[in-house]
Symmetry: C2
Subunit: 464 residues, 2 copies
């Protein structure tokens, strides 16, 4: 059982959960609590410097909900953990049968707005929490981060290059997926190319250069194999000396009617070096050779490079985007907002903990836009509340455990993301110190909050 | 192909790579470069505040090297990417046939020390780079981070609680594995319990409390299901009011001859609250009820809590450990250090790039210890160099592509880690501003570096 990736098949995902989901469910079961409950998945606050979120991960959430099951191996493990046989019998027949509402992937969203709303018998709704959080945390964090990098690059191509430092196999795949959604041109991850159809890009490493006696021998060897699409890494020993040798090879290719695609810089002062390399290449009539830059890049460095007039045509962005290095998580939570009591009436729920209060009731998010479609403000309202002149963001995606939503293709999600970013006013896309986008609480929801706050304070605190 | 986890089977891992590994290999193939080469996997510098590394991930690296293969699906994808049929035929028969040396998992290591040394025909050695880096980055980063948390907790239990914010499925599994190696008592991740045999822990969430009309009803329901092992979450509404209700339930259990295990705090000022809760429980004769704390913890917060005299018996540590939030990557690299020329002689290789220089030649790391076994200093030497009175850290783990090393169990790795940490002098375990552990370059390696630097400067830079 201890071997590599044995566990990574879909069935096993039912145990990819915090133990407390199972202990709570065992207790619900034991206490005959089967009534429906509604949970909101949302992000409590924005990470530093972020001024919006780009939602991603819904497809994997829905695939999971459709397929989550317990195998005999799981049940026998849970038995050893002390779960009783009645509960294990229940798990043996477990299926998710609930209703799910969600905003589409690629949607720009804001803190406290429900991104996924799950209504199901409380055991089912509770049991799926950890997987949903894990999936949305990773993908929304990365889509958000990558959208900032894309914005900073001002239309120049960005390739996702972070596979080696992303957190394991699943992260390597999902980062490629989400950074493509956010607008990257492609990825270095070949498996993501195969699985998701994302364009793949790659050049060469320093080791390739160093495996040859001389740098120019390495350039020639590579150009021999890829005569029509070589990008030569020129900074192994000295970038200017490297650029001169690349120019020699480019001229050799020209004699055969071929063109060198580009050169790549991976270290040093990329702004200054790119200008020198551009000048050197242009002076030799190699205006068509593009300059590709990589090395510790993120949205802030790219913005700085472009401000300094760097002559860079495309960016390879790795670790800092692929790990969301300045903030490697989002504050995503999954909170109970309603139960249905035994007699069928709705009981809205809220949490009072200091700094961790939640919004009660089944909710919808409405977005107001100006005449040109630019986003003006959002209103979080109760699901049955009328809000005129605004677009509801949550759509029903699952009913009775079955998909009621046609999953968009990755290209369609990417288009949604681009359209959302285009309609988010520029001021909210500033890399730092962006203003806060207005998210309001509707009148009915406000009234409900006041009512519940009074009740909770009385019942649970004052009584002591 | 777009569905959830389809790609996550072992065979597919051959394409879990940066495209440039394949383009370089295609060019090596095209240029008849099949001679052996040696690569070092090492970490260039320590992340902020870290003063050592705890190496982890070797088991997964070796499983990968043993099994990496290309399927027809892979080859047909690569064909569409423009790779020629001769190279694809080569990949069809691809197996890793090389020799690997590595330090055991759980070893304390330092920057620039080779952690894994791969010698193989250059195509094989190059092709495996991305997977090795991805695996070692995640696991070494987490083992290192978790060892700091364990140190800060001064012997109190630490449970890994970060599954919901770890970066996807593989990270969720590997974080549980590596934090257990580093000394955590267990994890909340049930699948990690099943797959790795790690003890699993869990209590309840706020949603459980809130699903009941009254907090005390929720406590009673849970205690009914787990009469001998309930830990009650007491801060949903008000922690002191919650503690009082937990005490009521504890007294009810006492009447049945049972004991409440503990209470859990998840918000607020944990030091102050834990003292109040301890006092409240003790005054009711509930000295045996333990206090478990969670909520945004890391090594710094735990150290601070204990400094302030917090009455906490065990810590649940989540996001900040599970994402290594203050530094979510290590600077792990995989660098060519030697090729064998066509006539069979060794050609040591080094890189000169600014701030990115590497150490040439096939190397070994020697550790000097004092009379009590405490680590004094390390020396990086050439593999064939004699270093007396020190322990060599790298062991041969694979030869001709076959394992020559008995993979230790997870418990054995955990013991190695504990033994290593025990012998690392206390000053290097300070959470901040620890002194630099001495890592020296041997005389022969120093001489080789000087020689190569002269040669490279002359050949590759001055000639322009």
């Amino acid at each position: 059982m201890n071997s590599f990736l044995d566990y990574q098949n879909q069935q096993n995902m039912s145990l990819f959960t915090d133990l407390y989901e199972l202990t709570m469910c065992a207790s619900y079961f034991d206490n005959n609590k089967f009534e429906p409950a509604t949970f909101d998945l949302f992000i409590r606050r924005l990470p530093e410097n972020r001024s919006y979120l780009m939602f991603a991960g819904l497809e994997q959430v829905l695939q999971y909900l459709k397929s989550v099951r317990f195998t005999e191996e799981h049940l026998s493990y849970l038995k050893k953990q002390g779960f009783n046989s009645q509960f294990l019998d229940y798990l043996r027949g477990f299926k998710f049968t609930g209703e799910v509402w969600a905003v589409p992937e690629g949607t720009v969203a804001f803190p406290c707005e429900p991104l996924i709303r799950v209504t199901a018998p409380i055991i089912e709704a509770q049991l799926v929490e950890t997987f949903l959080l894990n999936t949305v945390n990773l993908q929304t964090m990365i889509a958000t981060k990558a959208s900032r990098v894309i914005h900073a690059a001002q239309g120049k191509a960005v390739i996702e290059f972070g596979l080696r430092r992303e957190h394991g196999i699943d992260a390597g795949m999902k980062v490629a997926r989400c950074s493509y959604i956010a607008g990257c041109h492609g990825t270095s991850n070949v498996l993501a190319g195969l699985v998701y159809g994302i364009p793949v890009f790659g050049t060469m490493a320093h080791s390739f250069i160093m495996s040859y006696e001389r740098e120019i021998d390495a350039f020639r060897a590579f150009a021999k194999t890829f005569p029509d699409k070589s990008t030569l890494l020129i900074d192994t020993y000295d970038d200017i000396a490297g650029a001169e040798k690349a120019a020699v090879v480019a001229k050799e290719l020209e004699k055969k009617g071929l063109r060198l695609s580009g050169v790549r810089l991976d270290s040093g002062d990329l702004a200054a070096t790119s200008k020198k390399v551009r000048k050197l290449l242009d002076e030799k009539g190699l205006e068509y050779v593009s300059i590709f830059a990589s090395g510790d890049l993120d949205e802030f460095k790219i913005a700085e490079l472009l401000r300094r007039g760097a002559r860079i045509d495309a960016f390879g962005v790795g670790t800092k985007m692929g790990t969301s290095a300045d903030k490697p998580y989002v504050d995503v939570i999954y909170k109970l907002c309603e139960t249905i009591t035994a007699n069928g009436t709705s009981a809205p729920i809220m949490k009072l903990s200091e700094g961790k209060a939640t919004l009660p009731g089944r909710k919808q998010v409405y977005r107001f836009k100006d005449a040109d479609g630019f986003y003006e403000r959002d209103v979080i309202a109760l699901a049955d509340e009328k809000v005129e002149g605004a677009e509801p963001l949550l759509r029903k995606v699952m009913e009775n455990g079955k998909l009621t939503y046609s999953l968009p293709s990755l290209e369609e999600i990417r288009t949604t993301a681009a359209a959302n970013l285009a309609k988010l006013p520029e001021k909210y896309k500033q890399l730092t110190a962006a203003p806060e986008y207005p998210v309001e609480i509707s009148p009915n929801l406000s009234a409900l909050i006041r009512k519940l706050r009074r009740k909770l304070t009385q019942n649970e605190i004052r009584q002591r």
